[in-house]
């Protein structure tokens, strides 16, 4: 799994790691750095993304499992505030985290796996275009081929 370092010329891939958020990480998940009040999500499953040779979190994700529906819902994904917007250093942060959620879903639910999200309306078509998400009525979802493709693109693919 890799991010694309846009700070380099030409942009170069950098190995990335996703791992569970430890209790000691919680104090670093400030609203200033990660845009949201993450304390509200401590009851959910939390994951962080970092580059392999740094301990600093670059992204965070909150998930909720719905085993009866073979589904994992992405509640929230945020990049660190200094890696954001047109001047950001790393690309692919959300893609890797969404791909990770897909991988977790397949590990848990096999061919029935589903990942869903309820994004802001103005972003819906952009998530669909970028990640191949399907229209689930009032939310977006991934299952079957589009879900497997995201795992291939963001988790398994080697640059």
């Amino acid at each position: 799994m890799y991010l694309l370092n846009r700070g380099a010329n030409p942009p170069t891939p950098v190995e990335a790691i996703i791992e569970p958020i430890a209790v000691s990480d919680l104090k670093k998940l400030t609203k200033k750095d990660f845009h949201f009040t993450w304390k509200d999500f401590t009851e959910t499953e939390l994951w962080k993304l970092r580059i392999a040779d740094s301990k600093d979190m670059l992204g965070a994700m909150s998930l909720t499992y719905y085993p009866l529906e073979y589904r994992i819902e992405i509640n929230l994904i945020a990049s660190r505030s200094d890696n954001f917007g047109p001047g950001k250093q790393y690309d692919r942060i959300a893609g890797c985290l969404i791909g990770w959620a897909c991988r977790l879903a397949v590990k848990e639910y096999g061919y029935l796996a589903c990942v869903s999200l309820k994004p802001k309306t103005r972003l819906v078509k952009h998530y669909q275009n970028k990640y191949g998400m399907l229209d689930g009525g009032q939310q977006l979802y991934l299952e079957g081929r589009p879900l497997y493709t995201l795992i291939q693109t963001y988790i398994d693919h080697e640059p």
Binding site: L76, A78, K120, G137, Y141, G144, Y148
Partner: protein, 170 residues
């Protein structure tokens, strides 16, 4: 920083911003999704199901290899059994496809026979390169590593053959 002021294309590369919904709206959205998915699942092809099952097995193997611990129930044979089961084929059929005798396959599945390099490579080709020979090999190595660490009768037997040893003082 105001996220609403950022271009949507930039937002979706780094964020999943949730819509504001009441609990009742969320419940309705989930019900709606369940209905849509039910229709799609019925239409899912056998090939798509098999792909999902194989991917699940591949992920289990990858994660198990990375684990520090070894579960004696989860050796090479355990994962080979899962690999064969998800294809809904008879063992004799799989043995034929791998060009090995059915007895050899039975021995591999019972753990009475350790797999050799040719088996790892044939399994890789059999899975259409989906599960690599390297990962089949690593599974087998994990089992061997556990055996070396825990086989006390072998350790006692081999110790007798060692006629001298390094004198190390700390």
């Amino acid at each position: 920083m105001n996220l609403d002021a950022i271009a949507p294309e930039e937002i979706v590369d780094g964020f999943m911003l949730p819509a504001k919904m009441t609990l009742e709206q969320k419940r309705q959205a989930d019900q709606q999704l369940a209905v849509i998915r039910q229709k799609r699942l019925v239409e899912q092809s056998e090939q798509e199901k098999l792909y999902g099952q194989l991917l699940q097995l591949k992920i289990h193997i990858e994660d198990y290899i990375k684990q520090d611990t070894f579960d004696p129930k989860k050796g090479f044979a355990y994962f080979l059994q899962l690999y064969i089961e998800l294809q809904h084929k008879k063992k004799i059929e799989v043995a034929s496809e791998l060009d090995i005798h059915k007895t050899k396959l039975s021995q591999l599945l019972s753990g009475r026979r350790a797999p050799s390099e040719d088996i790892f490579i044939r399994l890789e080709f059999h899975s259409n390169q989906f599960i690599s020979a390297r990962n089949w090999f690593r599974l087998s190595m994990k089992q061997q590593e556990y055996s070396i660490m825990t086989n006390s009768s072998l350790r006692n037997k081999e110790k007798k053959h060692v006629k001298g040893h390094l004198a190390l003082e700390f």
